[in-house]
Symmetry: C2
Subunit: 391 residues, 2 copies
């Protein structure tokens, strides 16, 4: 087991009607003037945004609205938010939505406390030393940003997608009402499920030893996610299944499943280039990339893939054919992705084989080669993985 | 799944040599004058205490020492600590040791910020509204107090043992170096293992539904604990096994396995009376009480016990004989306790059948009847459980 620090100071308020406590949590954190940052129409249509506005009005908490956070959130919206925070003397950023609104909110919070160009903080030019507090009302279980220290922003003009980890990115509170996810379209529900499963895979696929405990926690979470997904696809308003997905999405990325292990994150890197170029939903891109990555790296640790196949995907044990069992496990994962309506090939997301060179060049700019820790990957390795994803 | 709040703001610094960072964490939390609270001779003999003193001296952090925290920590030591904190203007309490030192430190921290008698806070007469910050250097994985909001103190003159939950009881940091546990006697290692398993059972045995995710997290943790225990009993200096036990002990009680479920804690109540009367090690008392409690409550939810038996204890599935399988699971638990040298009957801990009336009366004073949520227990039910523990 590797040495680690685990620090997850977010207060999670989870359950039915929990969003009605937003004002109380804002008061608890001495919010005087709040930037409410959100995405598109769904939080307006559902009435959620109006309810939150009403709460703030009734409790005399000043606020300013900023909508328009979009999937793969972009720097232009962050600049707009920072400007607003500075001119309006905002002291708290409240994200209402999913990972895009939250990540965008985190970057806005960073930039509001930074003198220079906020992109410095995402481009390794400066370290985040302060940030406004961020709170969350979650509507999309997927990115896990409500409980993580991560934020990913795309610089549109350069086509760069960069993620930064900081303890300042951990929201001070996160309100999670599973009922708010009942109306989430099935495609988005499924993409969220792939996203959270991928957050676990990025940690599960490790060379660190002595990690049996987090292996088992990860396997239990994966099984629960798939079981709950199948319930939701029959009955989208099953509370317990929605709640399971919501909480699984949070713990999949708050660090608790990564303690004591070297994490990988190469597949996220491979996918980031896809969604930067084609603007495909992150989870859908991951459904395409993860099976390819797994097949390509299976011989890096057949035992680990064998463990995954037998413990999570219910493949029968066969000590004499571990590689075969391991491959069957990956097949089962692909079957599951297809079952929940996710794409599993380049074609299905409109990605083109002839763009692979461009994707690799972008990956080189964003990450540099070699990449990866579970298996160290050269540019050629990554090309092979993209090619596998075309099949 | 029940609504819940999960808030675990402790910074866990885990791994080899992590205790060398004590001074840094104290500085981070602006500690000016520290009360170092510890138990008996082991932290002195190992040189740990001296190392920590040296760190504080070198980094010009003032401190005062208070030893003598003992298992089932008592009010007299708490009063002594509070007096010391007040006269010495202590602003930070550092516990070095296991659950006893930590719980005692928490109560001292409470009392130092309370005008009246600290016992009011443990006797439901007043609510904890403030407390000094508490940090931990852990040497005994068992109680989970390093990551929990719990503290249990015994008022000796009245023979009362009372636990209080408060968010103020969550340490601001906890340093956990598994190597510090290499020299822990096997009896204490085993008692700690029973303690952490019991913290999981108290949450696992619930009537709450829709809790499949935390069921699986709990089951995975239980399996990992037992596997690691068996390694330690062969090789006490196996780092990964010690690390697994250390981290399992923390997550078993930081709340992460209890989210969304009504917890029980009756068996802890039954055991508290045993250890108050006989001064038996808490974990050893739990090894006696849990199998008895489980056998008595098996019909409350045979399916849950069947799940435990098949998923955790490896009993073969038999849908036609769920009760039999469930009972076999409890037998396997007893076998495991015996394997690691724990007592499993009244006799083995020097407890007497003829004291059961006294135990029940004390339980009535401390908890009142009925008790329990998984199964609501009358005084007669509790008598029956104590009687089962005599067999």
């Amino acid at each position: 087991m590797e040495n680690f620090t685990f620090y997850s100071p977010t207060e999670f308020v989870f359950g039915k009607n929990s969003e009605t406590l937003t004002w109380k949590l804002l008061k608890k954190h001495q919010a005087k003037k709040v930037l409410i940052h959100y995405g598109g129409g769904s939080v307006i249509r559902s009435g959620l945004l109006q309810k939150i506005e009403n709460q703030l009005k009734e409790n005399r908490i000043e606020y300013v609205m900023l909508g328009g956070a979009r999937p793969n959130p972009v720097d232009s919206k962050v600049y707009e938010g920072i400007e607003l925070c500075k001119t309006e003397n905002i002291d708290f950023v409240l994200a209402v939505g999913g990972g895009s609104a939250i990540d965008s909110a985190k970057a806005i919070a960073d930039g509001s406390k930074y003198e220079g160009d906020f992109w410095d903080l995402f481009d390794n030019k400066a370290k985040i030393e302060a940030s406004l507090p961020v709170g969350v009302v979650l509507t999309i279980p997927a990115a896990g940003s409500e409980g993580s220290g991560s934020a990913v922003i795309t610089k549109e003009s350069l086509g760069l997608k960069r993620g930064v980890y900081s303890v300042f990115h951990r929201p001070v509170f996160a309100i999670i009402n599973p009922e708010l996810t009942y109306t989430l379209p099935m495609y988005q529900t499924a993409a969220g499920i792939v996203d959270m499963m991928s957050h676990i895979f990025e940690r599960y696929l490790t060379k660190s030893t002595g990690v049996e405990l987090t292996d088992r926690l990860s396997e239990g979470t994966l099984i629960s996610i798939m079981e709950a997904a199948r319930v939701i696809f029959k009955n989208p308003t099953n509370y317990d299944a929605r709640a399971t997905i919501c909480w699984a999405g949070t713990i999949a990325h708050n660090g608790s499943l990564g303690v004591g292990r070297v994490e990988d994150w190469v597949t996220h890197g491979l996918e980031h280039e896809l969604s930067a170029l084609y603007d495909v939903t992150h989870g859908a891109g991951l459904a395409v990339m993860f099976p390819a990555y797994m097949k390509y790296t299976i011989d890096e640790d057949v035992n680990r893939y064998y463990q995954l196949a037998t413990r999570v995907f219910g493949v029968e044990r066969d000590e004499n054919n571990k590689r075969g069992v391991a491959l069957l496990g990956i097949d089962k994962l692909v079957e599951f992705f297809i079952e929940i309506g996710m794409p599993v090939t380049f074609d299905e997301i409109g990605a083109k084989k002839e763009d692979i060179n461009f994707l690799l060049n972008q990956l080189e700019i964003n990450r540099g080669f070699p990449v990866g820790s579970f298996k160290t990957l050269s540019k050629e390795d990554c090309r092979n993985i993209y090619l596998l994803a075309c099949l």
